[in-house]
Structure formats: C-alpha cells, structure tokens
C-alpha cells in the first residue's frame, strides 16, 4: 500500500529498548515445561487469554442455543417440539397426541440462563477477560501481568463458576428460573418457583465465584497498567484499548463487591431466616414470619452493579473498535483525548444512574428525577464517541477485513441501540415501555449485539497475535454481513412489539387479545434468530479450523499497526520479548503522519517532530 518506510522491530527494540534482565534469571520459561503448566495451569497471559476466549465461546454457543430453543416456543407454539425431547428430556411435555411443548418452567429457566450466561460468562469474562489478558501486557510493554498467579486463579475461578452453573442445568428441580436479575422474593421462595430451590443456590454460588474471578482479574489489570508500563509509555501514549480495559477494571472492582454483598444478604434470607428482602409474604398456603424487609433494597444493590456492568461489557468493545478502526482506516483515531475523557465520563456516570432500571418498581417517584437527569447526560459522551468513530473513517483509506467490518457494524449497532436508550432513560416513557419488548430490543442491540461485534472485531484482528495464523476472511465477511442483517432482523421488529405494549418474558401471548396478534412477526424473529445462530456456528468452525489450518502469519506486523504487541515475535515466549522490552517514543496513532503509512510507537521521534501523546 502507501508505505514509504519499513521498520525492523527487532533492531528498534534492541537499539532503543529497555533492558530489564528478565532472561538472565530464566524465570520466564519454567512455567512452560510441561503440557499441564503450559496449556492448563498456565500463568502466561497469552494462554490465559485463549482460555478465557475458548471458554467464553463455549458459553456463547450454549447461551445462544438456549435462545433459539425458547424462540421456537414463542415463534412456533403450534409446532410440536417433541423432536428435541432427546436433548431436553422431561422439560418437553408431550401430550397423548404426541404434541410436544416446552414446559413453562423450563422456558423461564432458559430465559434466565440465557441472560446470566451471556451477560457474565460471555460478554464479561469472554470479552474483557480475553482481551484484557491478551493486550494489556503486550500493549503497555510488560512481560506479563503484575501477578501471573492471581491471573491464573482468575481464570480458574471463572471456570469453576461455569462448572457449577452447568451442573445446575441438570438438577431435577431445574436451574434457576426467576430472571437473570434474580429479584426476590421469587428468588428466595422455592414454593413460588421450583428453580428457586437448589437451582438458585448453585446460581448464587456460581456468581460469587465469578465475582472473585472478576476481582482477581481486575486488580491485576489495574496494577499492570499503572505500574508496569514500559519506558516512555505515559498514560497519554496508551492505546484506547488499554484505557478501555483500565476503566472497565476499575468499574468491576468498585461494583462487583456490592453484588456479592447483595447476594450475601439474599443467601441469609434463603437459609438463615433473616428478612432483608422479604416482608408480609403468604405463599404455598402459609404466611411467612418474615416482616420488615424490602425487595426494593435488593434491586438497589443489584443495579448498583448491574448498571456499571453494562459498561463493563461495552467499554472493552469500544476500545477494541477504536483501535481496529484506526488501524484499518490508516488514520489516527479522531479526538483521542475526547475518547478517553468520554470513557471516563461514562465510567463515572455509570455509578449514579442505577435506579433508572427501577422507575416502575415502587421507589419514590421524586427520586427518579435525579436518575433521569444523569442517565440522559450519558448520551452526550456516547454521542461524542460515535461522532469520533465516524470521523475516523473520514478521508481514510479503509482496508476491509472482517475485523474492520465488524468495527463499522459495531458503530451502527451502538447508534441504533443507544438512541432507544434515550426513550427508556426518560422515566415518563418508561411507564409504558418498561418490561416490554422495546427494552429487549434496546439492550440486545446496544450491549448484546454491539458488544459481540466489538468482540468479533477483536478476534479477527488479533487472531494472528494469538495463534500465528489468520482466520478465513471470506467466511469472516459472510459472518459479518449475515450477522449484521440477521441481528437487525431479530431485534428491529421487537421495537414495534414493544410500542404495541407486548410485555417481555411471556411464555405465550394467547391469553391477551392485546398481545395475541403478532404471530407472523414472532415467526420472522425466530427464523432470523436461527439464521444468526447458524452464522455464529460458522464463526466457531472458522475459528477452530483456522487455529490448525489457517493461513500462516509470515510477518510480525501484518496489519501495519503501531502498537507494541506486533513487535514481539510471532510465537512469543512467556515474557513476550526474547531480549529487551521495547521502549515507547510516541502515541499509538501515528497513521498517515508526514506522508508515512504508519510509524510504530517504538520509533524514536525525528528531529523537531512533535508527539501527540503528552
């Protein structure tokens, strides 16, 4: 392309790098002596990143398959589902005529598990876990995380959380079925829902372990970014990916403990007979003794995590997309500092908007005034980010790959889903739209599909960094265009359902004349969901095929990127750089500067040249 000068990263690193005497002590490779310590109980951030990614993909497939199954029930209630009985067993009830339907309790269990799995296991662990681990040490120029051991624990706590959640799917009383938010009293009372028995116990246990995983990871990310940046890497020279992971980790550290505290009180109510969340309940023919608790208290604690959580999901995606867009447009990201400040603003505001999930929950309506104001303020930094992404494309020279396409698709999804947030953040409109399909459409587009698009952009872009091979680009583009159109086909019609007042989490709409006349739309959505699911299977096939058979990476820096991860050898050992650590001399977005295609961060400033990162 327009490259005018080539850089030899090895020479630059050797000439200007930073000698930390890492390899004099041989503490790097002792971890990689056996299969078990290299691939299973590895402390190498690159392996841990791959473990997070592959585990996340497993959960992604499970969670998505669940949504296809419950969408079949919603879209095709008149079709027999007895053919999935071999898979689901007693959860498919077959009547005398051989007609099979999904049992309502399992429908709700699937909805609950779909939400829990996607939010926590896939879009938190699979996204932030993967790319924070892969990119933080690489891009700040560190040999590994601050504590590789805690980092390994972080993955294994996540793994354990997954094992417990998976086990709960096979309980005779069923997995938890009270929605991913687990609102009490439903989540406390096994009399009210069979999944609230053993299923809920395992659900809580699993998520507490998950909180531990997030905290171990988060503390590591923050420490690494603050303390282990290489020579010359000041904060304003960090790529936006690192800024995003940094803010994400801080949000996680501050909010997840509150969730754990909320769960702790929930466990007390469930097992010790306390009354933090329940009061004056008559259930199963019996009046409970508990008085004085408030179910709304749980909602406050839950959403104090729950709202930052959606930014924990979307910020890493934003970081990945910013980086991918800049690299592939061959231009600096537009308004680098505005991007950082808008992320900081979003991160800060995310802590003072939680009650916008609770406008209709019985809190004092006066309180809602504050939450409406802060919620709608978030639209401003979000808008700034969107404009900056779009302007990054302006006068660029865009190289189309699956990664850059997904990054552009992310921006489209983030706009579409973000704008409906302006409706829902306004408490007045929430009166009608709360808990309807409008909400389902909103959050699936803005934090589900958009976050996935960011993740896909990241996977396609950094696949060579992880596996030394490329993913199949043609399949990647089919995956992109199909998913873009398919995801809109799934979620766009839901806005109309929501406007018509159709509530979410309904097993069947036949009881209400108001909600009963959308059969064709529901069928359309289900078919689109199946197509989108098939495309994700295609992605998974492409992923595993490419690990072993993909096009081999021949050059260290295949995308012509400025950042440090591409200066390390293709098969980087534990410790990342065989000799010195590269030193940094400039910000990460010198694309197209002074007529050059790109200037890597490790290239010293020319005489009289001004650096943008200071």
């Amino acid at each position: 392309m327009a490259n005018t000068r080539t850089y030899d990263e090895d020479v630059l690193t050797e000439e200007h790098g930073f000698e930390d005497h890492f390899h004099d002590h041989h503490h790097g490779d002792k971890y990689q002596t056996s299969f078990l310590t290299h691939y299973i109980f590895s402390q190498d951030h690159k392996i841990i990143a791959r473990q997070f990614l592959i585990t996340g993909m497993f959960w992604g497939l499970v969670g998505a398959l669940m949504s296809v199954i419950f969408r079949l029930q919603v879209g095709f209630p008149e079709e027999s589902l007895s053919w999935i009985k071999p898979l689901l067993g007693k959860w498919i009830t077959v009547n005398e005529e051989g007609f099979g339907t999904l049992a309502p309790e399992f429908y709700y269990a699937l909805v609950t598990m779909h939400g829990t799995i996607l939010v926590f296991f896939v879009l938190t662990a699979g996204l932030s876990g993967t790319f924070s681990n892969l990119l933080i040490p690489f891009q700040v120029g560190a040999r590994d995380m601050a504590s590789p051991l805690l980092n390994m624990f972080s993955y294994w706590f996540f793994f354990l959380a997954g094992v417990i959640m998976f086990y709960s799917l096979f309980l005779s009383t069923g997995p938890f079925a009270g929605g991913w938010t687990a609102y009490p009293p439903l989540s406390i009372l096994p009399q009210a829902s069979s999944g609230s028995g053993a299923g809920m116990t395992l659900w809580t246990l699993s998520l507490v372990l998950f909180v531990v995983s997030v905290l171990l990871g988060g503390i590591n990310y923050v420490t690494t970014i603050l303390n282990m940046r290489t020579k010359g890497m000041n904060m304003w020279r960090m790529p936006l990916t690192i800024w995003a992971f940094f803010i994400t980790a801080i949000l996680g550290i501050l909010s997840f403990p509150v969730l754990a505290a909320g769960f702790f009180l929930l466990m007390c109510d469930r097992t010790l007979g306390t009354s933090f969340y329940i009061s004056e309940i008559f259930v199963g023919g019996q009046a409970l003794e508990n008085v004085g608790g408030s179910p709304i208290l749980y909602q406050h604690l839950f959403w104090f995590l729950g709202h930052p959580e959606v930014y924990i999901i979307i910020l890493p995606a934003m970081g990945l997309v910013s980086e991918v867009l800049a690299v592939h447009s061959r231009k600096p990201i537009f308004g680098y500092k505005a991007m950082v400040f808008s992320m900081l603003a979003i991160g800060f505001l995310s802590f003072i908007v939680w009650a916008h999930h609770m406008f209709m929950s019985g809190v004092n309506p006066f309180l809602s005034n504050f939450f409406v104001v802060f919620t709608l303020i978030i639209a401003v930094p979000s808008a700034v980010k969107v404009f900056n992404w779009i302007t990054t494309l302006y006068k660029g020279n865009i190289r189309y790959t699956a990664a850059s396409l997904f990054a552009i698709g992310f921006v489209s999804m983030f706009i579409s889903g973000g704008l409906t947030g302006i409706f829902l953040g306004n408490s007045t409109l929430d009166i009608q739209l709360h808990d309807t399909y409008f909400v389902v459409a909103h959050f699936h587009i803005v934090m589900g599909v958009a976050a996935f698009f960011g993740m896909f952009a990241g996977v396609y872009h950094w696949f060579p960094r992880m596996f030394g091979r490329f993913m199949n680009e043609t399949l990647g583009k089919v995956h992109f265009w199909g998913t873009l159109v398919g995801a809109y086909a799934v979620f766009w019609p839901m806005h109309y359902l929501g406007m018509a007042g159709v509530p979410r989490r309904y097993y069947s709409f036949d009881n209400f004349d108001t909600f009963a006349h959308f059969d064709n739309m529901n069928k359309f959505i289900t078919i689109a969901a199946m197509v989108v699911f098939a495309l994700q299977v295609l992605f998974v096939i492409n992923f595993f095929y490419s690990i072993f058979k993909g096009k081999v990476q021949k050059t260290k820096n295949p995308w012509g990127a400025t950042t440090l991860e591409w200066t390390a050898p293709i098969d980087a050992p534990h410790g990342n750089w065989p000799g010195k650590i590269p030193a940094v001399h400039r910000w990460p977005y010198d694309y197209g500067k002074d007529g050059e295609d790109f200037i890597p961060q490790i290239a010293p400033l020319a005489e009289g040249e001004k650096d943008h990162g200071h």
Binding site: M1, Y108, P185, L186, L189, I281, F282, V283, G292, G293, P295, I296, K331, F334, A338, M360, N369, V373, L376, A379, V380, A383, N388, I390, T391, Y394, N397, I398, Y400, S412, I415, I422, F423, N426, T428, Q432, D435, N472, T474, L475, K477, W481, L484, V485, W492, Y496, M499, G501, P503, Y506, F509, N511, F512, D513, T514, T526, M530, A534, L538, G592
Partner: protein, 425 residues
C-alpha cells in the same frame, strides 16, 4: 416439522459457505494479496452502500407498515388523561433520535464506501478538531436538556399521590401467583385493613373482619370504572413481585409484598367508544375467532386488559383481568349489583369473628328493608296486603323481653326511621 427443516437447510448452507471460503482463499493467494485486498475493499464499499439504502428504506417502510403500533397513533391511542403526554413525549423523542439515526448512518456507511482503500490513495492525518468536537458535544447536550425537561415535567404531573381534597375512586389490586385479586371499597369508600397472617382460602386478602370498613368491601372479578373520573389504584402483592400493567391506559407499577404502591389515572374513553374507534381499522375488521368467520369482529369483542409485567413465575403470562370503562350511570348500576364479599362469603361462617352478632351494616340494611316494607304496606290497596313483616324482632324464649340483639337493633334504628314510620301510620 418446519423448524427442523429450517435447521437442516442451515446446516447445508453452512457447509456450502465453508467450501466457498476455502476456494476464495486459494484463489486470492494465486491472484496476489494486494490486488485481492483492493477487490475486497471495492465489494465491501458497495455492500456498505447497499446496506445503507436497504436498511434506511426498511426502517422507514416498516415504520409506515407498523404505524398502527406506534404509541399514540391510530388504534394505539391512549385511553387515559395522562397517556397523551407520554405519547407526545415518545413522538418528540422519536423525532430527534430519528434525525440523529439517519444522519449518523448515512455518514457512517457513506464514508465506509467513499474512503475504501484504493491503490495509490493515502489517508489524511487528522487527529482532532476542537471546534467540531465542542459543537457535537453541545448539540446533544441541548437536545438532551430539552428531553429531560419535558420528560420530568410530565413525570411530576403523572406520579404524585392524590391530594386529600380531591375527588377520586380508590380500588385495590393484589397480585398473587397467578392472578389479580381486585377490591372495591364499597359504599363507605374506605378499604378495610388487612393482615397477611389472616389470609385463608375464603379470605384471600387477609381482611380483618372486625374492621367495619371491610364489611362492605367488594371483590369483583373485573375492573369496572366510570369514564372521566380519577382513579387511584392501590397496588400490592401477596407472594412475589408482580406489576400492575394496563397497556391502553399507559399504567404500570410494580406490586411489592409488604410495600403498597399506587398509580393514579383517569380513563377518558369507555370500552364502547374505544371499540367504535377500532372499528375504523382493517386489522380489527376481521372475525375475532378465526374458526368462526360469521362471528363478531375483533373490534366488537375488544376489552381493555390488565396484565402482569414483572416476572413472577411459571404463570406470569396468564394474569389477565378485563377492565371495563363505562358511563357514570352504568357504573353506579354495576356497583349496586355487587354484593359485599363479607356478607356473601364470610358472614356467620366458621371464619367470621362476629358470628351471631348484629352489625351496624346489617342494621342499616334492615332499616332500609323495613322502611321499604312500610311504604309498600301503606301503598297497598288491599287491607290484607297491608302487612309489615318483622323479620328481625326476636324475643327471649318463653318471654316477652326482646333478645339483646333485637333490643340493640331497635335502639339503633334511629329516631328518624321511627318517626317516619309512625307518621306514615
């Protein structure tokens, strides 16, 4: 079997696509990577434009096609006084976000097309532009301010509780798995006290029967309300969270065990008026029962509905009650027909703590009965029919002393009634 067939088709398509993927990669390595990249850029640019056009046209077309689902439009107009302000706010939000949506999408995909990588082109080094960034921070800030102000204005109009001196009807809805229990205050306009520990099979709300305010409370199977009168719904739950949701009235509020909530609204259209409005729309001019083409049409069978909008367990989707909005006169007539739940189901049964005692309510009822009987007797033409039955006068066995209840009744009959009867005599 349709889903299974679709699944099989998808699997086959996947296999074909994978093969195509392998072949094109082979082809690209033969053609040279750089040329393939430019070819890819060209295709992707074109597809971006195609997607932009199809997507925007699809959005506009679907919005027109589904215009009857839009809040506040056509058959989906609100049936309550405050509903209009919600619908209006929805429309102005849609207007502003619609503009942003179209502009940003055109810019995004147009740039994606226009600035596709081409041979010999270089990207321009544009790192930031402070003026531009200030503008596009300020514009959304101003629009947001506008939306916040109009939103909060409406919110603080809709949500406050009723003032003491206001004229309103209070009813109560209690969510249970999986039903709504409804309660009207009866003639005294007061809902009686409840205690969840008093709940039994025949006392589903745990009403305290020693509280006289409970004696005239009604538990109808549907909500009937007069048009144009302010209603305060007291919302509560017995077991888990529920949500009192009236889609046509733009009413929604969680029902929380232990913490009663409320929602206040004023219905503006009777069920009959709403049906008439619906009769203008084609989708309502179809038989409501598809198996009975000659039966009533959809608009004729329309009812306002009460639903649950907070996940409450397996039967969450089935908590339906009919809401009927009628004229003031019809409402009064309906109220007159309703029987007190206490008198109809509890009175003198095993669970009645006042079993055997005479209640003030009964006395006043008997007073009315007695006065009616006297008037009827006086008006009767035939002396044989001039009889006043004394149903409730009871003497102690073998004595001419009134029983304690009858004496109490006589003492409390009220001088007015006595005088009325005597003067009529």
């Amino acid at each position: 079997m349709t889903p299974l067939l679709i699944l099989i088709c998808l699997v086959l398509i996947t296999i074909v696509v994978i093969q195509i993927g392998k072949v094109t990669e082979l082809a690209s390595s033969i053609r040279g990577e750089e040329d393939t990249q430019f070819e890819t850029n060209r295709w992707s640019g074109i597809l971006s434009l195609v997607f932009l056009v199809v997507f925007l046209v699809g959005c506009v077309y679907s919005a027109i096609y589904y215009k009857n689902y839009m809040l506040g439009y056509g058959p989906h107009a609100s049936a309550s006084q405050h509903g209009g302000s919600i619908d209006f706010l929805f429309d102005i939000t849609l207007f502003f976000t619609g503009i942003v949506f179209v502009i940003t999408h055109i810019a995004l995909f147009w740039f994606a097309y226009k600035y596709q990588g081409r041979k010999g082109r270089k990207a321009e080094f544009i790192s930031h532009n402070n003026k531009l960034e200030v503008i596009w921070t300020l514009v959304p800030a101003i629009v947001m301010t506008l939306l916040v102000i109009s939103g909060l204005d409406a919110w603080n109009e809709i949500m406050p509780d009723v003032a003491d001196d206001e004229d309103f009807i209070e009813i109560e809805a209690t969510g249970v798995q999986f039903n709504w229990l409804l309660r009207y205050p009866g003639p005294d306009n007061m809902l009686g006290t409840r205690d969840y520990k008093k709940i039994t099979g025949v006392n589903p709300l745990g009403q305290d029967w020693t509280d006289p305010k409970n004696h005239d409370d009604l538990q109808p199977g549907e909500i009937v309300l007069p048009v144009g009168k302010k209603v305060r719904v007291r919302i509560t739950a017995r077991d888990v969270l529920h949500n009192f949701y009236l889609p046509h009235f733009r009413v929604k509020m969680d029902a929380v065990p232990g913490i009663p909530t409320y929602f206040i609204f004023t219905p503006t259209k009777t069920t009959e008026e709403y049906r008439q409005e619906l009769s203008n729309y084609a989708e309502y001019q179809v038989p409501s029962d598809p198996d009975d083409p000659n039966g009533p049409q959809r608009w004729e069978t329309f009812e306002y509905e009460l639903a649950c909008a907070e996940l409450c367990g397996n039967g969450h989707f089935s908590m339906r009650r009919v809401v009927r909005i009628v004229s003031e006169a019809e409402y009064e007539a309906w109220l007159g027909q309703q029987k007190s739940y206490y008198l109809g189901n509890i009175r003198n049964g095993d669970e009645d703590p006042l079993k055997g005692q005479v209640l003030d309510l009964e006395i006043s009822q008997r007073k009315t009965d007695f006065t009616t009987a006297v008037k009827q007797a006086l008006g009767a033409p035939d002396s044989v029919e001039k009889v006043i039955p004394l149903n409730y006068v009871q003497y102690e066995t073998g004595s001419s002393t009134l029983t304690a209840d009858s004496q109490y009744e006589l003492d409390n009959l009220g001088a007015g009634t006595q005088g009325e009867c005597l003067s009529a005599d």
